[in-house]
Subunit: 430 residues, 2 copies
Amino acid sequence: MPRRMLVTRTSLPPSDFVTTTISPLAPAEFPDMPEIAGVRIATAEAGIKYKNRRDLLMAVLDEGSQVAGVFTKSRCPSAPVEWCRDSLPAGVARALVVNSGNANAFTGKKGQAATDITAKAAAQAAGCDPRNVFLASTGVIGEPLDAARFSGLLGKLAVDAKTGGWMDAAKAMMTTDTFPKGSTRTITIDGQDVTINGIAKGAGMIAPDMATMLCFVFTDGPIRADLLQLCLNRTIGASFNSITVDSDTSTSDTVLVFATGAAAKRGVRTVESKGDRRLRLFQAALGDVLGDLARQVVRDGEGASKFVTIDVEGAKSARSAKKIALSIANSPLVKTAIAGEDANWGRVVMAVGKAGEPADRDRLAIWFGDTRVAVDGERDPAYDEASASNYMRNSEVAIRVDLGLGSGRSRVWTCDLTRQYIAINADYRS
Amino acid sequence: MPRRMLVTRTSLPPSDFVTTTISPLAPAEFPDMPEIAGVRIATAEAGIKYKNRRDLLMAVLDEGSQVAGVFTKSRCPSAPVEWCRDSLPAGVARALVVNSGNANAFTGKKGQAATDITAKAAAQAAGCDPRNVFLASTGVIGEPLDAARFSGLLGKLAVDAKTGGWMDAAKAMMTTDTFPKGSTRTITIDGQDVTINGIAKGAGMIAPDMATMLCFVFTDGPIRADLLQLCLNRTIGASFNSITVDSDTSTSDTVLVFATGAAAKRGVRTVESKGDRRLRLFQAALGDVLGDLARQVVRDGEGASKFVTIDVEGAKSARSAKKIALSIANSPLVKTAIAGEDANWGRVVMAVGKAGEPADRDRLAIWFGDTRVAVDGERDPAYDEASASNYMRNSEVAIRVDLGLGSGRSRVWTCDLTRQYIAINADYRS
């Protein structure tokens, strides 16, 4: 699978050229994702920024499709994020249009005009109201997006759209991503298969809330929009809001979940109440899909060579545990030590200390993998540098901190910080 | 001036060996710092971690010397920080002992024992109470500090100590620093010269509050401890609490100001009230020294190739402006763009947006140097990529953001994020 975006630098020696290979942490393959009745997909080459690759995605949804969403908390959100926020309350979706190469963020009135043009063209193509069209853009910030470049393609895309084509859809959204991200789960409701397919993009500018990413989930389950939103709100915290690559929060983060309800034709009754047991089943599967995709984003973290799981337990509260876990996950010194395969737990202590949350140095214990490296405020008496260093050579590293104060716990995922991150980001626009 | 700590890596190509040269942003030379009556200095090679260099500093202060201090806000402070915090309320100092190579942080009861041994030995050497001895340690976290290695040297140091020797003192504190940091101001009070000399160390793990650094300031001005503390509290915010290298906060940050009062012998009356006009004069000069040293720390930021000044104005409040300024200064994507000489103001928008402070995208204006690159929520109509890119080639870069909401303003200093930072920090302990 070739890297789709080639970035080259001329001012660094050859070893610093951004590689065209996929992340060493990528899953072995894109999952085999079933078709979902009521969702048709098409992609095209619009030439927005990239040449010779598909950069435009359209998904057409059957009438009656419900939608839920969560968005970036940035105070400077992109035009498509504002568009989606305005459209979401109705809970009805008929089409999704996504482009890569340009984020349509900080583009002022021109940005709003671009979303209007795109939504109108997509609505005409899909035969629906523009407000039932959802939009997302990813790429460079601040460049005006020329919607005319692709609005003319949407009519043909709507005609060509077919069930399936998930990998092509995931690829069309890629920017600095090195592999397309997909995840699928099938559950049984009322004796019938109900499928949840998700695709995502994201590699840099990744931090809660939320990771800089786009994620679109589709299901044929018949679920009312407000309940879909409830499931999303309950699962986003432990998935996309528990990952960080570089502590930077995007203007464009978007997660949308679409439910076509097509399974109703096979006898699945519509989920219409909070207390419905089937909703919990659906929510668990949705959480699995979102968690899987979120971890894939970390595995594609810009320049990442290690996948890192950070567990904090024994905190005063879950919120406090999460703040400490993110302080560790976002520390450049912790991340560079991991890149250097250095079991530098002193930097973990530093990151705990700077989080500003309750912590008692003399109750702190820290593990790298199964090896306890520190206990009771000092180095573990049984600490063995050779075995700790050996552990750090793994491509997946787990760090666990027990604060010894309470029962609050949290898990977050991140990656290491390498010179490849610098090479990728020092010259992204060029 | 040779780099004192050599760090080498074997797993990277030659271009990634940590250089032994001083920072390209270093001042041309160490300042010519006058003697200060009542302060005597000596340094020694204790071999704590480094070989063939002085790593131990002792300053002996005349009887009657007053002291003020501020320390890290880390919840996991080092043993010397706890020692100083306990000793500070008396406001009296007779000696300062600083070692590099080991931070005596997260060393449990052993760490406390090490501070006790050191303070007792220094007190015996200086002929004072151990509680009048102030301590600081900088270097690796988590390694027990063997105080016996240098406590035996303190008797001779106290005898050898001489007025002057400021550059040697600054050098003895260096860890990843590539140049010693000093600053001096002389003011006239009651017709007499009063001098303020400061030395500092710091290069990585630098973030408010406070930067990871040690800073010691000495003056012959006769100023009572509580007023000295007042001056320090009023000047630390715009100096050491306005810099960041990597957003990581140390366990060891310490700023101490010592006033010997020796100028009283030359007829300078002791400053004893808040309203004393001479206090404002002193405070301004102290602020200059602290600001100069804080900026020198940024100039020695690990791997730094650019010195960056960030001004935020038009915010709802000064506090809000500072939070936004630090969000920009700490953003890895902003910092790598600067390293790549890329006028990527879209990332500045991102960092404003993620700060969580009041901001209106459509009122935002951004300048790189004198060039306005964005206005009213979009790219400046007069934006010229070539001229913006040309500006980014400077070794000093100024970024200004006007939020257009109020009159709150703040200035912070930082440096860029380069692959050299990764090389330095991926293998610091080895």
